[in-house]
Amino acid sequence: MSALKLTAALAAAVLLHLLGVHLIPSFTLFVDVFLVMVVLYALEGSSLAALLAGLMVGLLHDTLTSGPYGLFGFADTIVGYTTARLAQRLVIQRSTSVLALVSFASVAQQAIVAGLAFVLLPTPELPNPLWVAVKAAVCGLLGMLIHIATINWRRSAETRKRGRMSRLRLG
């Protein structure tokens, strides 16, 4: 079930990323759909699953960039694992907490990628700090919206299920 969920989330992230770049040329400058997906998946709490999800998503992201293959794989692995460990210790009650968590994860991921690029590339090109902040904010917002939508969808699914069960009992 978890693998199915991961595959569906991965397909959704890839589709959203490709559509975003197709419709808005500067899409990758201010949002990272792959990172949002990794953090939201890691919030479920299994650190091994989050680690593997981060690795897979990061390597897919690497395919669509010109840097050394594995930059985002490395960064997203760390982000996925750390988020899952945090989620095991924290109780997230407000959606704004998700916003803060995704934003922080975005800054951390961009810092890891920039640090690795600085070490590995002879002439590294580092991201603009302003765009790092914008990307963190937009990722946070997107993560919060998806989180709210997921909670609402789960609640309505639960209500529908309960309704069906009570009808069955009455019958």
Binding site: V21, P25, T28, S47, L48, L55, Y69
Partner: protein, 290 residues
């Protein structure tokens, strides 16, 4: 699995990735995993690229019939002008061939050009790239990629019909180039400021460089043939004790690329590149004893 074991898994995965990253070095885009990944993402990118760009379509829809008629008229005139220009150039080309034959000088052929579709374009982030769909005839590594305006980049990864391109504006890309007016050579690189601009390095302070000078490929790097437009000089400053600091505006608007051209070009023939290559023995001129 308990958390302690997961921690060990994390360390092992990270170490493997670090070793993998370090081992790649300059062999960018040459991993089996990346090729597989591109093969997996390519069809999705192609399907999305075939969808209409709704913003562009909406804009087009708002254009009046009058506007389209004006465009049509202007394009017809442009075609007529270009036909005349082509006739003049064909004449010049024939003359150049005749003169070349007289002095036994063979101009290297530019190579065959074929159009391919851009299915994914990220030209704004600092790790910018293009993904191409090349159809039944796949691209090959280091193949030059052009647009009608000039140089786009080179193919760094091929996976089936899909190819990944390193743009000329990439900080890691280097192109042997020269200033058209003075033939002074240098190396063009991405400026690395997120602006998508270019820099021309290693041009000595004594060299004559002016804003507005055109820069073309020099054909000295073993990847690109000579004469492809790269950009134009926009600013010249003293970079250090030896070289100018020259900024260029790229010849190509990377935001408008939906189709590019792959150039089948061999800088050195396969025979020369072979380790068994031996230079041919010169035949003695008639009447001269060997």
């Amino acid at each position: 699995m308990d958390e302690r074991r997961t921690g060990w898994v994390l360390i092992v995965v990270l170490v493997i990735q670090l070793v993998f990253l370090a081992a790649q070095g300059s062999r960018q885009g040459d991993t089996v995993l990346e090729r597989l990944s591109l093969r997996f993402l390519g069809p999705g990118a192609r399907a999305v690229a075939s969808l209409p760009n709704s913003f562009g379509g909406f804009r087009e829809g708002l254009r009046t019939r009058e506007g389209l008629q004006e465009d049509n008229l202007r394009l017809r005139r442009e075609v007529e002008d270009l036909k005349l220009r082509l006739m003049q150039l064909t004449d010049i080309e024939n003359e150049a061939h005749r003169l070349g034959a007289a002095v036994r000088h063979a101009t290297p052929p530019l190579g065959r050009i074929r159009a391919v579709d851009v299915v994914y374009a990220d030209h704004t982030s600092w790790l910018r790239t293009l993904v191409l769909y090349c159809g039944a005839e796949p691209a090959h590594k280091n193949q030059p990629v052009l647009s009608a305006d000039g140089l786009v980049g080179r193919v760094v990864l091929v996976s089936g019909p899909y190819a990944k391109v390193q743009l000329v504006t990439d900080r890691a890309a280097g192109v042997g180039a020269m200033i058209l007016r003075t033939r002074r050579q240098g190396v063009v690189r991405g400026s690395g400021r997120g602006s998508g601009g270019l820099e021309l390095d290693y041009v000595p302070l004594q060299a004559d460089v002016r804003p507005g000078d055109f820069v073309i490929t020099a054909g000295i790097d073993g990847v690109y043939p000579r004469g492809i437009p790269v950009g134009a000089v926009v600013a010249v400053a003293q970079g250090g004790q030896l070289f100018h600091k020259i900024q260029l505006a790229p010849a190509v608007d990377f935001g408008t690329l939906d189709q590019v051209y792959l150039l089948d070009y061999e800088p050195l023939s396969a025979e020369i590149m072979s380790p068994d290559f031996k230079s041919p023995q010169k035949e003695p001129a008639p009447g001269v004893r060997p």
